[in-house]
């Protein structure tokens, strides 16, 4: 990749990302991490809420159960139910970043409940991965993608 082209492509991403970030990560006064009031994160799940809790939560969420407060509410209309969760104050989670662990657990628990499996993306076929700054940024973004975002 030419240096100019690489820089230009990167600039597009950075510019778009910065603008988007200001839109979707507006900080508010709260007791949580600034994105959700009091640290709660939530996913909406299609299906029967009783089945979601029957015998424990789906495994990805159950694994963190002792460290979490979990609240399940019906979603409006035909949208199923809402699973709200936050890390208990002072709770210990082995993962490096408890907030990322919680986002990952919520996404995986929803997916496992709705589809019966956690979709694996890797390993996948690919050609030569040349070493570059932008490549490293994309790799890192993908590694953390499930634990990041606005969830």
């Amino acid at each position: 990749m030419g240096v100019k082209a690489a820089v230009a492509a990167g600039a597009v991403g950075i510019a778009a990302g910065l603008v988007a970030r200001t839109l979707v990560r507006e900080r508010r006064d709260s007791e949580g991490d600034g994105r959700h009031p009091e640290g709660w994160k939530a996913v909406t799940v299609l299906g029967d809420a009783d089945a979601f809790t029957d015998g424990g939560y789906p495994a990805p969420l159950e694994r963190l159960r002792d460290a979490l407060e979990v609240r399940i509410d019906p979603a409006p209309g035909d949208k199923g139910f809402e699973v709200h969760a936050r890390v208990r104050e002072g709770a210990q989670i082995d993962d490096d970043d408890p907030e990322q662990a919680l986002r990952t657990a919520l996404r995986d628990a929803k997916q496992l409940f709705e589809t019966g499996e956690i979709l694996l993306a890797r390993p996948r076929p690919h050609g030569h991965r040349s070493v570059s700054l932008l490549g490293a940024v994309v790799d890192k973004a993908e590694d953390k993608a499930k634990g990041e975002g606005v969830l």
Binding site: G2, T44, R107, E114, T115, R122, G127, H128
Partner: protein, 389 residues
């Protein structure tokens, strides 16, 4: 296996890569028989979609033969000839149950990336950047298809590979523009872009009962296809003043439905194209909305505008005032192909939808870099370069 990889901005190479394997019980592996370029690939190629990684396998529109099935797959068997929707959707979440398949909650394992760009994540798409899941694309000998009972469709006997291929993306995308654009019997519809998607939008509009359909482009060979194969009228914007022509053709009203099938690298001979080009190259805006603007100005009062072209970020000088004061309905989406593909395959089997003329250049996968060059530069009348791995 061999695969076409994106290796950098405007750089492609055919490389030896690992074969895909079944990773989830709902997967199948497909041996690719035909796989086509798409105009939206050019945005990846040109570096306009920043979450590409050197070595990514391109391609999202393909047909092939099932060679392996996961343990939970019930609909497909080894040997089935299938066409696969370019978007990956679980079929079980609220969005899929409401036929908004490209918005699937579960098809994109990298949801955190698009959430930071757009606030919410769409589903995944083969060969279309790490923002849409990082899925390996179809320009390869084999491809893994997740949620196969949802996303793969058996091709009816009598429908050729060359026709079925475009049921993967171009045909359902175009049909969606006409359907969700609200085309009704008696409508006049204008379509910007005479590529594969624009032609299919025009055909969809005609089959939904539109009285007149006018397709706008500058490449005469594409407009000739529209005239001879699709059965719609044409306007060449290099020789016609589009807004004036559309007013004349509609008795001063403007089209009832305007469908934009161009995307973020639109071209025009108007002054605003130069403005958009400069701003995009200076990265002061990510996308050029030139055709969208024209569609908005052209639409009749109270009309509908549907944006089919792919956009990634932010645009400038968006005529929101025209949208508001003319009472327009503006709608857009990546394709919800699963809701249309079975119907389109049926129509293909009855010759109501024909697509093989789009495949103007069919070549071996090894020649794919040349095929993309032809497709990008529109040389030799190239509408779509199609690869046979």
């Amino acid at each position: 296996m061999k695969a076409l990889c994106w290796t950098g901005v405007n750089e492609l190479a055919v490389e030896d890569v690992d074969d895909p394997s079944i990773l989830n019980a709902q997967d199948i592996i497909v041996r690719v028989r035909l796989t086509t370029t798409c105009g939206s690939d050019l945005h990846l190629l040109g570096g306009y979609v920043p979450t590409m990684r050197a070595g990514d396998v391109l391609g999202h529109e393909f047909t092939g033969e099932v060679v392996e099935t996961g343990s939970a797959v019930t609909k497909h068997h080894v040997g089935d000839r299938v066409v696969v929707c370019s978007f990956i959707s679980c079929g079980k979440c609220w969005y899929c149950k409401n036929e908004l398949y490209s918005l699937c909650d579960n098809g994109n394992p990298n949801a955190g990336i698009p959430e930071m760009l757009w606030g919410q994540a769409p589903g995944g798409c083969y060969g279309y950047s790490h923002a849409l899941g990082g899925w390996a694309g179809s320009h390869a000998e084999f491809i893994r298809v997740p949620y196969a009972d949802q996303g793969a469709f058996t091709v009816p006997e009598g429908v050729s590979d060359e026709r079925a291929l475009f049921a993967s993306d171009a045909a359902p995308t175009g049909w969606m523009g006409a359907d969700l654009g609200g085309v009704k019997p008696g409508d006049t519809v204008a379509v910007w872009g005479a590529g594969g998607v624009g032609q299919m939008a025009a055909r969809g509009a005609l089959l939904l009962g539109a009285e007149r359909v006018i397709v706008i482009d500058r490449y005469q060979e594409r407009l000739t296809q529209v005239d001879e194969v699709i059965g719609a009228e044409t306007l060449n914007y290099e020789t016609s003043e589009v807004l004036a022509e559309l007013r004349e053709l509609t008795g001063g009203r403007g089209p009832d439905v305007c469908i934009e099938a161009v995307g973020m690298e639109a071209h025009s001979d108007r002054v605003d194209f130069g403005y958009d080009q400069i701003k995009q190259q200076l990265r002061l805006q990510t996308d050029r909305p030139t055709a969208v603007r024209e569609a908005i100005f052209a639409a009749r009062k109270g009309g509908n505008v549907f944006v089919l072209g792919v956009f990634g970020g932010f645009v400038d000088k968006f005529p929101l005032g025209a949208v508001m004061n003319k009472g327009l309905t503006l709608r857009s989406a990546q394709q919800h192909g699963h809701r249309y593909i079975p119907m389109l395959l049926e129509r293909m089997s009855r010759d109501e939808v024909v697509t093989e003329h789009l495949a103007t250049h069919i070549m071996p996968l090894e020649e794919a870099p040349t095929g993309y060059e032809m497709f990008k530069e529109k040389t030799d009348g190239c509408v779509r370069a199609v690869f046979r791995p």
